[in-house]
Symmetry: C2
Subunit: 474 residues, 2 copies
Amino acid sequence: MANNKITKRSEDFAKWYTDVVRAASLADYSSVKGCIVMEPNGYAIWEKMQSILDKEFKKLGHVNVQMPLLIPETMLQKEKDLVEGFAPEVAWVTKGGDKELEDRLCIRPTSETLFCDYYKDHVSSYKDLPKLYNQWCNVVRWEKETRPFLRGREFLWQEGHTIHANKEEAMNETNQMLDVYYDFFHNYLAIPSIKGKKTEKEKFSGAEYTLTNEALMFNGVALQAGTSHYFGQTFAKAYDVKFNNKNNELEYVYQTSWGTTTRMIGALIMVHSDDNGLVLPPKIAPKQVVIIPIGDDEKVTSLTNKFNEELNAKDITTYIDNSDKSPGFKFAEAEVNGIPVRIEVGKRDLENNTITIARRDTGEKYTESADINIVEYITKLLDTIQNDMLERATKRRDELTFEAHNLDDMKKILDTQPGFIHAMWCGNKECEEKIKEIKGCKSRCILENEKSIDDKCVCCGKEAKYLVIWGIQY
Amino acid sequence: MANNKITKRSEDFAKWYTDVVRAASLADYSSVKGCIVMEPNGYAIWEKMQSILDKEFKKLGHVNVQMPLLIPETMLQKEKDLVEGFAPEVAWVTKGGDKELEDRLCIRPTSETLFCDYYKDHVSSYKDLPKLYNQWCNVVRWEKETRPFLRGREFLWQEGHTIHANKEEAMNETNQMLDVYYDFFHNYLAIPSIKGKKTEKEKFSGAEYTLTNEALMFNGVALQAGTSHYFGQTFAKAYDVKFNNKNNELEYVYQTSWGTTTRMIGALIMVHSDDNGLVLPPKIAPKQVVIIPIGDDEKVTSLTNKFNEELNAKDITTYIDNSDKSPGFKFAEAEVNGIPVRIEVGKRDLENNTITIARRDTGEKYTESADINIVEYITKLLDTIQNDMLERATKRRDELTFEAHNLDDMKKILDTQPGFIHAMWCGNKECEEKIKEIKGCKSRCILENEKSIDDKCVCCGKEAKYLVIWGIQY
């Protein structure tokens, strides 16, 4: 059975992770170095994420577009921070057909330049604003070390790029989209992420500031998953995106961008899964319920069909496993694939008019009457599972959240068990760099609205300005 | 107003086409040569196409995956026909970051190689078959001449790649998927396409045979939109994709691939649109109904809101144009953008308890009671428009369908008015090439189940084997 191959999470977290990815058929390595194949089970999770987020984006007035895959080098070079940030990690197309290109093209690592280049010709008046565009696409970054879903030379994402007639509106958009990500993590992925602002050192190249959605994995390592950038007029100036404002004066637009990627699938795995494979919150599971018939019997068939129809009719995605594998094999397969609920309909159980319902997240099994109102029961159970998963993940996050008042505290914590470390910071890059020397610990985000826990910087002891979460990251 | 810029279709079809693309804000040229920006109006059509086709694919058991964007040259070279077919038109990545690549990578022009490379490690028994995989993605082909949606260096498409345990099943899949395309064209795009088989000369590189969905544009030029290929074991042998069959013998899999692209948007335009801009069949229109309030009045507002809510509640995508433009401007905008139905709710009309409903396709206007059952009325009207559009397109196609019995016939037809030309063919490439000398006229497809119209080949006069449709193509 597939899940026999999974390394224990407590033994080797990294190996456990890739074992789960493989055992649940989410992705496989490809012959193209650093690139994965997203298999049906993995891609279906992405499709579900897309459909939920896309609806949210559209509710807020965003529309989808598609920009080119390729960016001419001369176009990229107009914004120097962006070039410096991305140049070392782009793939270059130098030949089209048999011909060397004069202006070589990079495969988009992100599309700020392309959106600006488009906007500059399509905005002339404040009446044309805001433009609330988003695109779902693939991007390429020539990473040296890669891991399925977490870091790859190619990944799928969405990138929103909006322009506005004034600063306040653009800043509100930046906040709003971070909230969309944060809510998505809490309400769908059952991941209690934390939102905050990146430090100057960690912000996106070219942004005035970057807001971030930070999640903590089961092993205490942090994962940035969802960022929202406020650009002010930086890109607008570099790419000459101007409009006539209400006073009929030429002004540069105010810009934002925000993105989430397939690495959210990595987060899902590393927060919820266990030694038996994938565990998915019901709201993001492409298949929520599996019905497994046991024994060849007319009553069994009729009841499984009835359940299947009733559940699907209420948009609870359900399927019957009618394959010719043994029931034990089917159980294991549903388990490793993270199907939230399993309904067993057995010939013998039906003699007592009972069925068995099992939860993937806890492994609990319930014996219920075969006459149960299945839709009501399963709806409630899926809700319970969703809530319990968020609660357990929150408990785990809280257990792995620490306070440090000096560098010794920090070292001790990181030597024992990494996690979210709350500590005060003076605001100087030097301190950030010194802290990074401790096992690569980085600032995750500045918490702007929380009480300070100390007067002094955790590193230099000088006056503290910010409460910051620190941690080791993927 | 936007539609003032549209060249008359009868004056210059090519210019009219690009004018419509621009006036309806479907796409714009980008600074990246040969690549377009798909704007919100254009991309929304693609999203609608995707959602319909994707549901059809899934109903038939297909699942979506995502393969890498890049293909190592060494991998591509394993199937020589494919290399010969695509090598002149691929973009090459030769540098990743600062490093020259040893094995250069091409951006996928199509993904047969990648699917085979994946399948070879994931299939071992007939129990693993069939694999019915599809992917939605971008591909790059280094075209010299490009036109928005019709031919571009990058385009979006779906490519299905399936493998099967026997020939019959794979051949059925090839047929079935062509039928999906054909039905989609008829039932949604209101385009009376024709299905048939490509000649040896025109089939896909590496395929045993190619089935094609051929549409005829308003100007009589043909457009191939949707092909389905049967590969037999060609690729399986080149990439070593084997399985143990029921007799426990090692056998190569039987393979198909099938695809449709964003050029379907080009077909939609060139079949249905007119001098006032885009005309969309209701079933593919992202927005089906626009409500335009005329005059600032409580009754007007209340009725527009009521209509809007009632229609949207029944999944008729409707919006109110509440912008501060003039009614005339709003009418023109809705017209150029191809909104199938316009409802005008005017203050003065309401004094007589009437509203006006206008059809985009014919321009007809109806005065109706304001108390109308709007859902019933619009549902019926959208159906009528959909049917009428298919009927008109069929009439046009039939008017532009000719018969040729010799090369003189063919020349005469092509000199006067191109179209679908039915003519018999002996099966020899030489004749095909000779016919191509007449204005580039090519075989569109072989009609396998229709009666022959002659005994002799239209070109050489020798015994005819096939009834073929010929035409000039995009």
